[in-house]
Amino acid sequence: MSTLTRSYHVVIKPHQKWLYFDWRGLVQYRDLLFLLVRRDFISRYKQTVLGPAWFIVSPVITTLVYTVIFSRALGISTAGVPPVLFYLSGLMGWTYFSTVISTTATTFTASANLFGKVYFPRVVVPFALGMSHCITFAIQLTTFLVVLTMHEVSGRVDISLENVIAGLALTPFLLLHLALLGLGVGLTLSSVTAKYRDIQHLVPTLINLWMFASPVIYPTRRVPENLAWITELNPVAPVIEAFRHLYLGTPTMSLSAYAGSALFAVLLFTFGVLSFQRTARTVADIV
C-alpha cells in the first residue's frame, strides 16, 4: 500500500490529449469490469419466470418466424442449408453485434447518474456490456449446436465433427472481430448521443436497416449484381458469412473482404475509444 502511495500522483488539468488512454486506470478497475459484467447479465433476467432461458427462447422464436416468412412464404434461398440452421447461425453473430451497439450507444445518458457522482475509467461500462453479451452469445451458440446435432441425427444435414471443432476454435476470433466493430460503432455513437440527444432515436432504425444490408436472412451469393457493393462495403457481412461457413460449410466471402473488415474494425474501435474518452472528460456538464 505504502509503495503504491509514494508513486501515486494524479494531475487534473483541462484538455488532455486526444490520444490519451488511461490503461493503468483500467487495470486498476478490472474487478469493477467483471462485477459490472455480472450485474448486466443478472439484472436482465431478474424477476422473470424463465430467467436466462429467455436468451434461448427469443432467438428460437425469431428463427421460426423468419423460417415461416422469408423461407416458406417468400421463398428466399438459404444456400442449400435447412432454413432453421441458416437463420440461427446468422442471428447469433448479428444479435451480438446489434445488442452491443444498442446498449453502448446510450452509455452516457443511461449512466448519467453514476458518472455524475463518482470517478472510474468510463470505458469500463461499455466494455462490460460487450463482455456480458458474450455470455448471451455462448448460450445461443449452445442452442445452435443442439439444433445442429438434432439435424445431423435425423440425417437432414451432413456435418463432420472436425468442422464443428474447427469452428469452435475459431469462434472466439470472430466474436472479438464483432466486438471491436460493435464497440467501435457504439462508442462513437455514445459520444454523439451525449451531446445530441436526437441521434438516440435514430439508433434502432440504423440497426434495423443494417440488418437488412447484412447476410442474416439471405446468403451473399443471392445479392443481385447491382447491389453487391452493399455487402462488400458492409464490414459485418464477412463475419456473419464466416460463422456460417465454419459450421455449415456454406460458401464464404473472399479473404480480402475479411481482412479489410478486420482492419476497419481495429481502426473504428480505436476511434470509438478515443472519442468516448474525450467526451467522458466533461460529460457531467452536459448530460
Partner: protein
C-alpha cells in the same frame, strides 16, 4: 515537511449560462447559423455572445496529509463544482490539481447500487465503483455488514430495503474505503440521528487513528467544527479565506454582517438568503427588556438579560406557516437557542403585506461573547424554506455590569450555569475514620 497531498493551482471552471444540458442538434445548428451571419456583419454590430458563468475562479490552496479540511460557503459558492473537479467527474477549464494519494469521493451514498441485486452483491459492486478491489472488499466484508446493521437482509434485493437500511449499507461501504484522501459531501444529512452520530464517530476515528486526509463539505457548522482541523471559506467561486477551523467559521458567521446594537432597526431584505420568496424577513430590532426604558443598560445585552425582538415579515400572499424561528448560534456555528413556533405548536398566519411579530425570550444563559442571529420561516414540514437567513448579524453579550448580584468570575464556555466544585478529600477522610 512532506509535500502537500492535494495542491490546487488557479483552478477555474466556466459554464455557459442557460445552455447546460440543453444542447440539442437544433441549438447547435442555430448557433452555427448565427456565427455565420455575424461573421458577415461589420464589427460593432455583432450581438453579444451568451453570457459565460465562472463557477470557480482562480481557486488555489494546499492540503497537507492528515488534515481534515472543511469546505464552507453559501449555496452557489462553488463548493460542489470544486468537489466534482477533485473527484475527476469533470475537468477544470483552467488550472491544475496534483493529487498525491488515492482519492475516493462520496458525493452521494449508494452510487451504483442496483435495485434488483441483493445487499451482498451490491456491497461488491458499490465497493468496486468506489475503487476497491474484490480482495479488499472480501477482507472488509464482515466489518461492513456489522456497521450497516442489515445482516439479516443481505440476500434481499436492495429495492425492498427501507430508505434507512439503504443509506446505512451505502455509508458502511464508503466508510470502509482505504483511500489516502476521502471526499465527503453532505451525505450526513440523511439517515436517523443515531446513525449520523455513528458516521461522524467513524470519520473522527479515520482521522485520528489512520491519519486519513478528508475534505468535507457540509452546511452543518457544528459537525465541521468538530471534525475539521482547517476550513476553506468560499464565496462566489473564489476562496475567501483558508485557515484553522475556529477562525474561519467565526468569519463565515460574522461575515459582512458585523455587530449590531440593541434598539436600532436592522434591514434584512438585502441579506443573502435561500427560500421560495413567498414571504421575506423585512427588518428586525432587538432590545434588552430587562433594562428600564431609557436607561443606559438598554444599550447593551448582558448575560441573563431577556431579549425583546420586533420582527417584520413581508408576505406576498396569505398563507399559514408552521415554523417561524429566531436562532442564536455560537461563534463556531453551534445552534445554541432556537426560538421556533414548532416547539410551541402555534401556527403563524401571514397576511399579504407587512406582518409584525414580537418575541420575548427568557433570560439568556449566555456568557460574554459575540453570537450570530439567524431567521427561518417554513410553511409546512419538509417543504423548502419560505425564507432562511442563516446568519443575519451578530449581537454582543457583555458581562453583567459591576453589581454585587452579578459579580462572578468569567468562565470560558458559552452557557452560564451555576455550579459547585470542591475537593472531596475531607469527607472521604471522615468516612474512613
Amino acid at each position: 515537511m512532506a509535500q502537500p497531498i492535494i495542491s490546487i493551482h488557479n483552478v477555474s471552471k466556466q459554464y455557459r449560462l442557460g445552455k447546460i444540458g440543453m444542447s440539442s442538434l437544433r441549438d447547435e445548428l442555430q448557433r452555427w447559423w448565427e456565427r455565420r451571419r455575424e461573421a458577415a456583419m461589420p464589427p460593432g454590430m455583432k450581438p453579444e455572445r451568451p453570457q459565460n458563468f465562472w463557477a470557480l475562479r482562480d481557486v488555489s490552496f494546499e492540503v497537507e496529509p492528515g488534515q481534515v479540511v472543511g469546505l464552507i460557503g453559501r449555496n452557489g459558492a462553488g463548493k460542489s463544482t470544486l468537489l466534482k473537479i477533485l473527484s475527476r467527474i469533470t475537468e477544470p477549464s483552467k488550472g491544475e490539481i496534483h493529487l498525491r494519494g488515492r482519492l475516493a469521493s462520496l458525493l452521494e451514498v449508494g452510487t451504483g447500487f442496483h435495485p434488483e441485486l441483493s445487499g451482498r452483491e451490491n456491497i461488491f459492486l458499490n465497493g468496486a465503483v468506489l475503487g476497491m478491489t474484490k480482495a479488499e472488499i472480501r477482507r472488509k466484508f464482515d466489518e461492513i455488514v456489522e456497521f450497516s446493521e442489515v445482516a439479516k437482509f443481505l440476500d434481499t434485493p436492495v429495492k425492498r430495503y427501507s430508505s434507512g437500511m439503504y443509506v446505512r449499507l451505502a455509508f458502511a461501504i464508503a466508510a470502509h474505503l482505504e483511500p489516502e484522501i476521502l471526499i465527503v459531501d453532505e451525505v450526513l444529512a440523511v439517515g436517523d440521528a443515531e446513525f449520523q452520530r455513528k458516521c461522524i464517530a467513524k470519520m473522527e476515528s479515520l482521522r485520528k487513528t489512520e491519519g486519513r486526509t478528508i475534505l468535507f463539505v457540509s452546511h452543518n457548522a457544528e459537525v465541521v467544527s468538530r471534525l475539521c482541523t482547517h476550513c476553506v471559506f468560499m464565496e462566489r467561486g473564489q476562496v475567501k479565506s483558508f485557515g484553522p477551523t475556529a477562525e474561519i467559521i467565526a468569519q463565515y458567521h460574522g461575515h459582512k454582517h458585523g455587530l449590531r446594537r440593541p434598539g436600532e432597526w436592522i434591514e434584512l431584505n438585502t441579506l443573502p438568503r435561500t427560500g421560495t420568496g413567498r414571504a421575506t424577513f423585512h427588518r428586525v430590532r432587538f432590545r434588552n427588556s430587562s433594562a428600564a426604558n431609557g436607561s443606559s443598560d438598554a444599550q447593551k445585552i448582558y448575560s441573563h438579560s431577556r431579549l425583546n425582538v420586533d420582527l417584520e415579515v413581508m408576505a406576498n400572499e396569505a398563507f399559514t406557516a408552521h415554523s417561524l424561528a429566531v436562532t442564536i448560534f455560537s461563534p463556531s456555528g453551534i445552534k445554541l437557542m432556537n426560538y421556533d413556533t414548532v416547539s410551541t405548536g402555534d401556527l403563524v398566519r401571514l397576511r399579504p403585506g407587512l406582518n409584525r411579530f414580537q418575541l420575548h425570550t427568557d433570560e439568556l444563559p449566555l456568557n460574554a461573547g459575540n453570537y450570530t442571529v439567524g431567521f427561518w420561516l417554513e410553511s409546512h414540514r419538509g417543504a423548502p424554506p419560505v425564507d432562511w437567513i442563516e446568519s443575519a448579524f451578530q449581537i454582543e453579550v457583555s458581562s453583567p455590569p459591576d453589581t454585587d448580584v452579578w459579580k462572578k468570575p468569567l468562565s470560558d464556555g458559552h452557557v452560564v450555569s451555576s455550579f459547585q466544585l470542591r475537593p472531596v478529600d475531607e469527607s472521604l477522610g471522615q468516612l474512613a475514620s
